[in-house]
């Protein structure tokens, strides 16, 4: 019953031409991205651009974990819609309060 639900049939992915276990493939991507982040963080880029770039990378990594390791990829669509529903709220809260201090500081 489980197997059909989680669709283990396509458990391999194409990684630079090799067929590897999908979990291992994602693992390699995560590690490379982390390494990239650490290097990037110490390069002399403009601070804001760097911050945004790093956050984008982190979010991408987080999404990979959610999508593959937490199997959202194999779940019914409703579940991942449910899974992302608090994100807008989190976003609104942080952004609104930030504009508050932007106003005060500026």
């Amino acid at each position: 019953m489980k197997n059909s639900e989680n669709g283990t049939s396509d458990n391999r992915m194409n990684f630079l031409g090799w067929k590897v276990d999908i979990y291992i493939g994602i693992w390699v991507i995560l590690l490379l991205l982390t390494l990239g982040e650490v290097i990037l963080a110490f390069l002399p880029f403009p601070k804001m651009a760097l911050a945004l770039g790093l956050i984008a990378m982190a979010v991408y990594k987080a999404a990979l974990v959610g999508w593959y390791y937490m199997h959202l990829r194999y779940e019914p669509r409703n579940l991942w819609i449910l899974a992302i529903c608090p994100l807008p709220l989190a976003f609104i809260l942080v952004l609104a309060v930030m504009t508050e201090f932007g106003w005060l500081v500026g």
Partner: protein, 592 residues
């Protein structure tokens, strides 16, 4: 195991005799947990009422010793010679609101009715996670005990208001309350787990355990609103918990999240609190709206007017509730542009509220209205919610709020929605589902008397508070007579207090009725209100596992007075008679 969850197998051991402890104390049966919640939260409600009476004593008769020789009971740190001290007054206000909001109304809404109604109305045998459900209840008395203990520690109970604005709440230096404030924080952090575990159960149960045929648009409105409320709990409470933890660290280990000495931001606490706080007020009223919809439809023997838009309105209110929190902070020094966006979103909430209000009235229209106690409470809810909602419109208008903010107008507004709205809604709910819970009817005469006196005394007590606010009387003040311009308001305050004493006293009738009927009430039968919901399709009180056989749902919950039927109700699970002919069947509506 995918979608096919056989109903009835998840904890079949419960069908056996479980002995006293597991039946009454550590029960995993949702109905027993509902009753446990009911008794504890009514006790907290009574406590909150007592604290309110003391507040009103001070405001009505400032500087006079408390009656009934209470002064002899209370220690000198609270009320020497029976005269309430200012710091004790602040603790009274804070604890009144805390007990009412977190320990009375929230458990009454989600704890009692969430537990009682959700599984019964969707035709499940129990909650998805009965053990977590038990945990959810048992956390409440623990948290309550911590909160109660704070009265008895040195420095007294927390006194920074239920909003505990930083930096007042960050250090005992400002209030003289050290341990009390810490206990307040710890208690609410603990209580948060109760809400989250409860909400998790409700959400999962509604999503996954609906009986066959119980499509989304056949779910009764009480369950709908409890479901949406559970979402609000689930996503709002953790924000509060996080904030409380930061505040606790400021109090105890001297961090500076909210303390300006270390460049912390006091306003950030307000944002965190109200980001939770506004969804919270809808947590406190949405379920009541659900009960009222059920009661009005049932007692006027008519379908709910605009069932679909009622559902949409619940969801819309909940959704908008997330983006209006700033309306509590218009005068806090908030960015004025941000203030404007909050004003816009706030007034928009009037729209779904209007839909609900007018739909309730539409439900009464051309009905066959039976004046039983639940209906009287439900209609009072509508009448009073309108007042509270409309006073909210004044506050939503940021310029008018400049004047009205932190005056008694706010106190009037919040009690109209919370007492006139939520509490009357709860009375409607309790009187309506009491027979299902206890198998007996409540006494009608006592019930009507309680309703009548309550309704009048309530309005006499709280309506004049609007006028106090318009005259400029601030809230949370121990003695308004300190201000010359408020001295002329003393007679109004005294009148309000006297009305409150009537209101509080008459609640004794409810308590008597509640306990008396449990033993002596008329036997109820399965379906005393000729109702359609699945909860009425099982015995009163329902046995373990609820339904002898999984009910199958054939229609929506509000098929009252269906044309061509002899009976004026049509239970959701009643199998259609084949010979009835296709035309008489309520068809599936679009979206089902």
């Amino acid at each position: 195991m995918s979608s096919a969850i056989p109903v009835g197998d998840s904890h079949s051991e419960d069908h056996h005799d479980l002995g006293f402890i597991r039946t009454y104390i550590f029960s995993t049966d949702h109905k027993m947990i509902a009753k446990q919640f009911l008794v504890t939260s009514l006790l907290f409600l009574a406590l909150g009422g007592m604290l309110a009476a003391m507040i009103r004593w001070q405001l009505g008769f400032p500087g006079q010793p408390l009656p009934f020789n209470l002064g002899a009971i209370l220690p000198d740190t609270m009320a020497p010679g029976g005269i309430i001290l200012p710091e004790f007054y602040n603790s009274l206000v804070t604890m009144h609101a805390t007990f009412m909001v977190f320990f009375a109304l929230m458990p009454l809404m989600a704890g009692v009715f969430g537990n009682l109604l959700i599984p019964l109305q969707i035709g499940a045998d129990d909650m998805a996670f009965p053990r977590i459900n038990m945990l959810s209840f048992w956390i409440t008395p623990v948290a309550g005990a911590i909160m109660l203990a704070s009265f008895f520690v040195e420095g007294g109970a927390a006194g920074a208001g239920w909003t505990s604005y930083a930096p007042l709440s960050t250090s005992g230096e400002w209030t003289g309350v050290y341990l009390g404030q810490i206990l307040w924080l710890v208690s609410l952090i603990v209580l948060g787990f109760s809400s989250i575990t409860g909400a998790l159960n409700y959400v999962t149960t509604v999503i996954a355990m609906r009986a066959p045929g119980m499509t989304w648009f056949r779910i009764p409105l009480a369950t709908w609103s409890l479901f949406v409320t559970a979402w609000l709990l689930l996503l709002a409470i953790p924000i509060l918990t996080g904030g409380l933890i930061l505040l606790l660290l400021d109090q105890t280990i001297g961090t500076a999240f909210f303390r300006p000495e270390g460049s912390g931001e006091p306003l950030m606490w307000q944002h965190i609190f109200w980001f939770f706080g506004h969804p919270e007020v809808y947590i406190l009223i949405l379920p009541a709206m659900g009960f009222v919809s059920e009661v009005i439809a049932n007692r006027s023997r008519k379908p709910v007017f605009g069932y679909h838009s009622m559902v949409v309105a619940i969801v819309a209110i909940a959704f908008l509730g997330w983006v209006v929190w700033g309306h509590h902070m218009f005068q806090s020094g908030m960015n004025p542009f941000l203030g404007m966006s909050f004003m816009a979103t706030t007034v928009v909430i009037a729209v779904p509220s209007a839909i609900k209000t007018f739909n309730w009235i539409g439900t009464l229209w051309k009905g066959d209205i039976h004046f039983d106690t639940p209906l009287l409470h439900a209609v009072s809810f509508v009448a009073l919610f309108v007042i509270g909602g409309l006073s909210g419109i004044f506050l939503a208008s940021a310029p008018v709020d400049i004047y009205l903010h932190d005056t008694y107008f706010i106190v009037a507004h919040l009690h109209y929605v919370l007492v006139g709205g939520s509490l009357f809604g709860i009375f409607a709910g309790i009187t309506f589902w009491y027979p299902k819970m206890f198998g007996r009817m409540m006494n009608e005469t006592l019930g009507k008397l309680h309703w009548g006196v309550s309704f009048i005394a309530y309005n006499l007590a709280f309506f004049p508070m609007h006028n106090l606010g318009v005259q400029g009387m601030m809230r949370r003040i121990y003695d308004p007579n300190q201000y010359e311009f408020l001295q002329s308001l003393q007679s109004t305050n005294t009148f309000i207090s006297k009305s409150v004493f009537v209101f509080v006293s008459v609640q004794v009738l409810f308590a008597i009725n509640f306990f008396w009927s449990m033993r002596k009430g008329k036997k109820a039968g399965d379906n005393p209100w000729d109702s359609n919901g699945l909860e009425w399709a099982c015995p009163s009180p329902p046995p373990h596992g609820n339904f002898a056989e999984i009910p199958i749902v054939h229609r929506g919950p509000y098929e009252y007075s269906y044309p061509g039927r002899e009976q004026d109700f049509w239970p959701q699970n009643e199998a259609p008679v084949e010979s009835f002919g296709a035309s008489t069947k309520p068809e599936h509506k679009p979206g089902e």
